[in-house]
Amino acid sequence: MPHHGVLTMKESKKIKLDEHIVEFVCDAGEGAQKAAVSFAKVSAKMGNSLWTVEIIPSEIQPPPHTMGSTSGNRIRLSSKTVTNGGNLTNVVVAFNEMNLLSRIKGKMLADDVVVIIDNKWANDPDETIRKQYREILDELKAKGADIYEVPIEEKTMTLIDNPQRGKNMVALGMLGYLYTRDMDILADEIRSIFKKKSKEIQDNNVALLTLGYELAKETINFQYVIESTPFKVPMVAMNGNEAVALGAVAAGFEHCSMYPITPATSATHALSEYFGRMGGIVHQAEDEIAAIGVALGSYYAGRTTLTITSGPGMALKTEFLGLTVMTETPLVVVNVQRGGPSTGLPTKIEQGDLLSSLFSTPGDAPKVIMAPTDIEECYHVMITARKIAEEFRMLVIVLTDANLATGTQLYPRPKLSTESFPPPMDMSPIPVGTKPYDWDEETGLSRRIIPGQPGGMCRTTSLNHSPEGKVNHDPDMNQKAHRMRSRKLMTLQKSLKKPEVYGDKEGDLLVVSWGSLKGPIDEAVDNLRKEGKKVGAISLQFLSPFPPGLKEIFSKYKKVMVVELNYSDDWDDPMVNEDTRRYSQLSMLLRSHTLVDVDCFTRVYGRPLMPMEIYDALSKRLAQK
């Protein structure tokens, strides 16, 4: 990506940019995360939009100075709204060459990446290290990188004894210089981080920051300027799991029954904190089966309850999901998707649980499936999910993913009111003769009776049952009960809006997606349209039921294609043909639903697709006959 403008100034060139991606990586425990978060915060305060992604090793404290030990943050800064992590990295700050290597192997760095690396390894006593350091840098340079080898640790030790406790601040200072950050705001931010520590510690850290600033100034002869327009409304920054948790409280959830599993757990950590202050219970159950069992029992008894999990946990909940549908108990299950199958890639993103969420339960179990497309929606979806669950007496599964969970986004601070809470628990007496499944023949809806309501005594059973809630083996009643449960989905469907098309409303290619790929797809579509291509995109917030009008929308385009993060066979694989190709999950559903030849481009890289990768795939598809 070319620089958008170059200004020569007195001390250094100022390079004006619309946006940039910077990474800060180190060994676990060296503090890159902390420094990067401060950098992001200050950037946001200055008026940049951003999307940050944590880089986390898969063990707690892996052997240092290895590829697997890399920990840190990846920050996309922009003068415009950001909805995803973007393309290749433009700047990387690394404390050692193995951290750098892990990013090279992950194919995350732009060819012309600017690298700032601690040069201490150049003179390491261990020859292997010296050699690999040199080789890695040489290779990068050959591809076009702009490399700054800086004595970060050495300089740090001019101020403090243990460089592990301060070099992150030095590096932060360097970034402050490079991105022309307001150093006063940065210093304030650092002081506030250490606000519980002594004045001396605060001063020391600010001194390290300044040291880094000066070091960069000496070493690098340019600075980046990313225009920042101050936000007109108050903005919040949080990750998707925090958004889910806050959204849940705003939706009126009072109980959460869970079992720890990456990458879902941190949402329940947040809930444990919030409930501590706002009333409510987090119950860590003995396993995921018990977690949903308790949630179901609690919601059955009238308490607004949710459960949060990820792939393997969803698998264990399968039988209870069926019970929820059969008994028409409202329930919200959040599935923070990770890489599968089985334990798979526990910390990585995949959109692999669409079909399993829809179809895991034996028999017919209609349910609602929703997927937020960004972190802001993670908050708001919880309110809608709760309402649907209760109004329709249905199971609502909310599908987020590992990247939403750990990414941070800025979005307008939500307005709170008591309206998003459910009404007080209904304890009114039940008229004699009221049936627990008094299905409205047209809508399938029926009034929910809550234990404790006088006169409402009735049985709830996992067996097929009559409107009276009695066990029933009658052929027609089984058919009817199935019909009523299915009918509710139609009733909901009638209230959904036709999805809005982003980009061209008709043309050569429509891209269909769901969840967090919306952002990068929209960017790819923007770029294609700039080239004059007629391309549109839709993103489905409801996966079950589908919104109305899809076939009609599809008919306006020559080609339709799904882009999502789960596995599908590629056309150019040997042995793939019309008979054998396994389509991706959403494309499979849409093909059946519309009978349109919906193609797909998907990858299971354990990371989101970049706008440019999507751009390439769409271009290729457009070029095909």
Partner: protein, 320 residues
């Protein structure tokens, strides 16, 4: 249908109302003739009648099995769940609604086999539940397969040459679990003792666990005898804090003294199970806190308006 106002309702329905046994009768039970489950049902119904418990304030939760049909036959709220998971649903009901009384009924396969993990942990949670296991030492509803409590050597459909494992002593398991607060054993063929045991369990705050040795004349007559005869040897526990042993029982079986507050003694009594089932209250510790108390549920205690205030404070922390 027109909804009545609560006051009107109370006036119409409840004033001066005394509950009779009929008020607790649900569907007509469909158990086999001579099934021990009948007695357990009527024991619970009598208890509710005696205590004049409002039917709407009780939730009966069960799993799947002959025994788990129980809630259908009891006119309270009832949840007939899935196999092995009754304890989880019941825990949810109680955590969600501490104001309700929760009764859990399960079979031996339901509780001790597929439900084993939940059984273990529920005893530890000590949520305020009354738990009744109808232990016929067999999988009845699925027609005669071995259960954890089936005696070694018994031939069943899945052990045609005899069960190979020694039967599980469920009493000794429970007495090994931290926080077990109430453990009693009784039998479906000793109705007076059954009634008193279930009543004691009902009145205990915490998880009160009652194992009922239950006659299944169809599939486990070898265990408890057919046609009214009881083969299995048993012994009554006499304890002033326990379940009173009626005179009539003294003729049926030996009676020994036991102190239900003494955990070590209870463990010894539990080991008797292997030769002569002890009937009575094995262990009782009313001072173990219940899970719902410990969780300090404050959910109901702040107003929606106050919640909005606090939620706004929370949002402040995320605001740039």
């Amino acid at each position: 249908m027109e909804a009545l106002q609560l006051e009107e309702y109370i006036e119409e329905q409840c004033e001066l109302k005394t509950y009779t046994l009929e008020d607790y009768e649900g569907d007509v039970p469909r158990w086999c003739k001579g099934c021990g489950d009948f007695g357990i049902l009527s024991s619970v119904q009598k208890l509710l009648r005696d205590d004049q418990v409002a039917p709407e304030s009780v939730v009966a939760v069960s799993g799947i099995g002959c025994s788990s049909r129980f809630p259908h036959y009891l006119n309270t709220y009832g949840f007939h769940g899935i196999h092995g998971r009754a304890m989880t649903i019941a825990t949810g009901v109680k955590l969600g609604r501490p104001d309700l009384k929760v009764l859990v009924t399960m079979g031996d396969g339901d509780c001790f086999s597929i439900g084993g993990g939940h059984w273990l942990h529920s005893m530890r949670y000590n949520t305020d539940l009354t738990v009744i296991v109808m232990d016929n030492e067999i999988y009845a509803l699925t027609k005669n397969q071995v259960s954890p409590t089936t005696h070694c050597g018994t031939s069943t459909n899945t052990t045609p040459h005899g069960a190979v494992l020694k039967e599980m002593n469920v009493l000794s398991v429970m007495l090994g679990i931290t926080n077990t607060s109430f453990l009693a054993q009784t039998a479906s063929w000793t109705p007076g003792h059954l009634d008193k045991t279930i009543k004691a369990a009902w009145n205990h705050k915490g998880t009160s666990f009652v194992r009922v040795l239950q006659k299944c004349p169809i599939f486990s007559p070898q265990a408890f005898g057919q046609d009214g005869k009881v083969k299995a040897p048993f012994t009554f526990l006499r304890d002033e804090n326990g379940i009173p042993v009626d005179k009539v029982f003294e003729k049926m079986a030996p009676v020994i003294d036991h102190n239900c507050k003494d955990l070590d003694a209870a463990k010894k009594i539990a080991m008797m199970e292997e030769t002569s089932s002890p009937l009575g209250l094995l262990y009782h510790n009313p001072s173990i806190p219940t899970y719902e108390e410990s969780l300090h549920a404050t959910a109901d205690k702040i107003t929606p308006e106050e919640k909005v205030v606090r939620l706004n404070e929370e949002l402040d922390k995320y605001t740039i």
